[in-house]
């Protein structure tokens, strides 16, 4: 048993890793830094850099020694002078930036973080006898300048003073300039940053609410559960009862009616339930409060809507299970022995149908935690669903990611627990 336990626990590792990988691909590789969308246009590049720094977006994705900086956007002079427009003495003509002899400060958007290493890559050429260097200079004067168009690199360390390019003895012509910061180490990347965050259970900081995500999740989970647990329990009992009714009257009028109603219920959009319920039951007839989360009365309408909207699917599902069970040989035998219809139904069918029912129930448990996105946002219940919808609307990556991650982990863990319980109950499972 304990060997099975360990094997089953180990089995969750690839899935957990997969979820981490998917969130990384989604939010970091496909999505990238949401700074521009969140902070808006009227913010200094320094604020962008700080936003990225806090969330690790200023690092290479997976690995690398050099990373971009917002202090100097990559300049391609074929398209225009870019940030070098304001550099005194620099002349831009026809896609080439010309720097006559002299000293030119780099047109940085903000002062570089002191005492880190930087690399300036320039694509350019020089007249013979020209030397190019950078101050404050740690990196040597780069050789390899020539009168062919060529890429060359200057490496320097940032000090208090802003770096300057010095051109002496001739003219420097440039087609492009790129500034890169050296990372702390080769694997100082977004992915490692993310993994380290996860290991510390640090889910980051909400960009829209400016609070640690962990705190928001803690505050949101209780309202979510207060909504979803009653829905879950009531719906389970109700749909089991109705499915038994279906099984009892199989293919007769009550069964057909219930099946038809189930399909009809399934076909009504969730939104409609909410809008109509809120309008008539709460607003028009005043049976329930319309909006808010102050006492249990506020939960009644959302719970009612939640139960009704999910009932159709559940009744149909449980009915199928019950009917499957009714065709088993032992049920036929029981009928043949003369056991009454209801006796068979309750003694045999219900008991044996419990296994698939329990599976279905356990699978649904992790979804309780995320609450109901729609119900919460409509009725103003400050749960995780509400938080999630708002976060998606305001592109609050950290919050969305945290909810996705925790939801997935709960799913993995409940699956694990179910399997272990099964193995306890049914020794055959262990050998599958």
């Amino acid at each position: 048993m304990s060997r099975y336990l360990w094997r089953r626990i180990l089995q969750t590792i690839p899935t957990v890793f997969g979820v981490v990988l998917i969130t990384f691909v989604l939010f970091n590789i496909v999505g990238g830094s949401p700074a521009g969308l969140i902070l808006g246009k009227n913010v200094t590049p320094k604020a962008f850099e700080e936003f990225d720094e806090q969330r690790g977006f200023n690092k290479p994705l997976l690995f690398g020694s050099w990373t971009k900086t917002r202090a100097l956007e990559d300049a391609d002079f074929r398209n225009g002078p870019g940030a070098f427009r304001n550099v005194r003495g620099a002349v831009w003509t026809n896609g080439v930036l010309t720097l006559p002899p002299g000293r030119y400060p780099l047109p940085l958007a903000f002062a570089l973080k002191p005492s880190s290493d930087w690399k300036l890559t320039m694509e350019g050429r020089v007249a013979p006898g020209t030397s190019v260097s950078i101050f404050p200079m740690i990196g040597k004067i780069s050789d390899g300048f020539s009168n062919d168009w060529k890429k060359f690199e200057l490496i320097f360390q940032s000090l208090e003073k802003a770096p300057e390019i010095e051109v002496a003895g001739g003219v420097l012509e440039l087609k492009g300039v790129q500034l890169r910061r050296k990372t702390a180490h080769f694997f100082d990347s977004q992915f490692v940053f993310y993994l380290r965050q996860l290991v510390r259970f640090d889910f980051g900081i909400s960009s829209s609410l400016n609070q640690p995500v962990a705190q928001l999740l803690k505050a949101g989970i209780w309202p979510s559960l207060a909504l979803t647990v009653p829905i879950f329990v009531i719906e389970l009992i109700l749909s089991l009862v109705l499915s038994l009714v279906c099984a009892f009257f199989r293919n007769r009028f009550p069964d057909r009616l219930l099946v038809f109603i189930s399909v009809a219920l399934m076909s009504i959009n969730y939104l409609v339930w909410i809008v109509a319920g809120q309008y008539w039951l709460a607003f028009k007839w005043g049976w329930f409060p319309v909006w808010g989360f102050e006492s249990w009365r506020y939960l009644m309408l959302p719970v009612l809507i939640g139960v009704i909207s999910g009932l159709g699917v559940n009744v149909r599902f449980y009915r199928t299970i019950m009917l499957d069970e009714m065709y088993r040989d032992y049920v036929r035998t029981a009928f043949a022995k003369g056991v009454s219809r209801s006796g068979v139904l309750f003694k045999h069918v219900l008991k044996n149908a419990m296994i698939p029912v329990v599976t279905n129930v356990v699978i649904a448990i992790p979804f309780l935690y995320t609450g109901s996105l729609l119900l919460e946002s409509f009725f103003g219940i400050p749960g995780l669903g509400y938080l999630g919808v708002n976060a998606i609307n305001s592109r609050d990556v950290d919050v969305v990611r945290a909810i996705v991650l925790i939801g997935s982990m709960l799913f993995v863990v409940t699956n694990l627990i179910t399997d272990i319980l099964y193995a306890r109950l049914d020794p055959r499972v262990r050998f599958e």
Partner: protein, 306 residues
């Protein structure tokens, strides 16, 4: 496996499987009504598509966007120019409803175009080759399956950006998992059948066997999944557009509900009612059709029900 008796689940000889399925489907009057209803909606969607492109081509404001505050909040009147009334900006509800149908069909089809190839391809590879290929694919889909569905869809849409593309990708990239599972299980069953062994003996390559031999035999799984996914995708789109993550600047059922909801409180009931009915009709039709198709195509149900 000695002298196996003739399999009992075979349809009576003389009729092709497809014809047999069609015959069963036709026997159910309900299924035919649903099929007709789906056809009506499809025609509406095509008409909407035509209107959309015609006005785009002419570079004119299409009628469903035409604002006219003097005719706003007109109640439905079958004899007037606006049989289903107008909304708060005087736009024709019927025209907008047709455009909503267009969007719904686009979403249903586009998401299937994404999800079905992924699900079928991965399911076939995993089921046929087994071993490491299977391990990797099972790993991928169990990872996808453990992420809460709706949130995953919304997160993808958020990253891709607002608009229809976000809806397509969000729904399409998350809903292949169920199909993949089904296809994998079916292919596993078929790969050891003698007809597959015979094809291997004839020297057919694995891909030819998968796609020419096995796939046609399990295609009913794909068809049934498609019919049941279609309405689910429509529902999700409505939900996303309602939240403002889906369709932008065009009338979709979701955006219509979103604006009608506020007007409902002022007693403007018709926009809400007609959108609701439109969604209800198509979803119900597809759900019932899917059930009927499953009964007609799935051989397992054939034996257990008779």
């Amino acid at each position: 496996m000695k002298s196996a008796p003739l399999e009992p689940s075979k349809p009576e000889p003389g009729i092709s499987l497809r014809a047999d399925a069609w015959r069963r489907l036709r026997k159910s009057r309900l299924a035919l009504v649903c099929l007709a209803l789906v056809a009506v909606y499809a025609a509406m969607a095509l008409y909407g598509e035509g209107v959309y492109y015609w006005f785009q081509y002419q570079d004119r404001t299409p009628p469903y966007q035409l604002q006219n505050l003097s005719v706003r909040y007109q109640a439905p009147n079958l004899l007037s120019a606006h049989p289903l009334g107008t909304d708060g900006l005087g736009r024709d509800v019927l025209q907008r409803l047709v455009q909503g149908t267009r969007i719904a069909f686009r979403v249903g089809l586009a998401t299937s175009m994404i999800a079905i190839p992924i699900g079928v391809l991965l399911g076939c590879l995993a089921g046929y080759f087994g071993g490491k290929t299977d391990d990797v694919i099972v790993w991928i889909y169990s990872t996808f399956a453990s992420i809460p569905g709706l949130l995953f869809i919304l997160a993808i849409a958020m990253v891709v950006g607002r608009g229809l593309m976000g809806v397509y990708l969000g729904i399409g990239l998350t809903t292949w998992v169920g199909l993949c599972r089904l296809v994998r299980a079916e292919v596993m069953k078929h790969r050891t059948r003698p007809y597959v062994l015979a094809a291997r003996a004839l020297g057919m390559g694995p891909f030819r066997i998968i796609f020419n031999h096995i796939l046609p035999n399990i295609f009913h799984v794909v068809i049934v999944t498609f019919t049941l996914r279609f309405p689910a995708s429509i529902g999700t789109e409505v939900f996303m557009s309602f939240l403002g993550i889906g369709v932008q600047g065009e009338p979709s059922w979701g955006t219509m509900i979103s604006s009608a909801r506020l007007r409902l409180w002022q007693g403007i009931w018709w926009e809400m009612t007609f959108v609701t009915l439109a969604i209800f009709g198509i979803v119900l039709a597809f759900n019932l059709l899917g059930d009927a198709l499953r009964d007609a195509l799935d051989p397992r149900l054939r034996t257990s029900e008779s």
